[in-house]
Amino acid sequence: MRRALLAVVDFVVGDDLRIAVGVVVSLALAAAGAHAGFNPWWLLPLAVPAVLGASLRRARAARG
């Protein structure tokens, strides 16, 4: 069961766990803003490319 769960996580999360973490943090911030009475519709379109950009930068740095 544990192995199956790990396989599912690996299937979805893939090569860079920090992408998933960045997405969850961005969504948490958007949820907090929405519940505080703002409408942070602009947050995700800014945060998502930033998360991917950071991952690509790490991949480029890892290749030297």
């Binding site: 299937f11 969504l27 958007a30 998360v51 991952s55 991949a59 480029r60």
Partner: protein, 244 residues
């Protein structure tokens, strides 16, 4: 709904990418060792996938819409970003392109070297089954999540089915790996669409009210495409500078 054509297209392109990869292995097995066992293995895997889809589809569809949008939107967003990351790294020259001809040659050599029993070719059956099942699971995941959130699992399934029939027909006709299929371009396009769908639905799930309602979805897709192309250009420029 604005997202329906995008939904069908996403399901079709994702299926085409995965089908091409599975087809390469099945073709190598059939060419090297005969067609019966790999075709039976593929059929068995498709049967398992059909059962998975039939079991999981109604379960996903039964979830409350807000939960569905948040959970499935987040999963699609993470999944889409992984596809996009890989496609951008390949297009930017930091990762080798997937070479169907090389995969075919390697699988052919393995298949020719592997032992064979007189009764039934278990090697071909097992390898075809595993390949079709693993590639197919990604398609099932995308079809179910896109379909459930987009309000029509059958519509997403039609997109996947059309792609599967086209790729299988091409495979039967040419009996060679479909190396001319621009696999990374397809992967790039699917990554863009999954990321756009995921951003839109996950945003709705956490309470974001998108300006323009459903019209925000194609706008997000255009935005994702723009920054993805920008990242490819940046990576190409920096890798060209590094090799100069």
């Amino acid at each position: 709904m604005t997202g329906n054509p995008l939904l069908v297209l996403s399901a079709a392109l994702a299926s085409a990418v995965e089908m091409v990869e599975a087809l390469t292995i099945v073709l190598a097995l059939g060419t090297a060792r005969g067609w019966r066992a790999p075709l039976l293995g593929s059929a068995a895997a498709l049967g398992v996938l059909a059962v998975c889809t039939a079991a999981l589809g109604p379960a996903i569809g039964a979830l409350p819409l807000d939960v569905l949008r948040l959970v499935v939107g987040t999963l699609i967003l993470v999944f889409g970003l992984q596809w996009l990351r890989k496609a951008i790294l390949r297009a930017g020259g930091l990762k080798a392109l997937h070479d169907e001809d090389a995969v075919f040659a390697a699988e052919l050599a393995h298949a020719q070297a592997a032992g064979r029993s007189a009764a039934f070719d278990g090697y071909s059956f097992a390898l075809a089954f595993k390949s079709v099942l693993l590639e197919g699971l990604e398609v099932v995941f995308i079809v179910l999540t896109l379909g459930a959130n987009g309000g029509s699992i059958p519509l997403a399934a039609v997109g996947a089915l059309v792609a599967a029939v086209v790729v299988a027909a091409l495979g039967i006709v040419v009996r060679r790996p479909l190396s001319r299929v621009p696999e990374n371009t397809l992967k790039f396009a699917v990554g863009v669409m999954l990321t756009a769908f995921g951003t839109f639905w996950a945003g709705e799930g956490v309470g974001v009210d998108w300006p323009g309602g459903d019209l925000a979805l194609p706008a997000i897709a255009v935005l994702v495409l723009a920054w993805s192309l920008l990242y490819v250009q940046v990576l190409r420029r920096t890798s060209a500078v590094a090799t100069a």
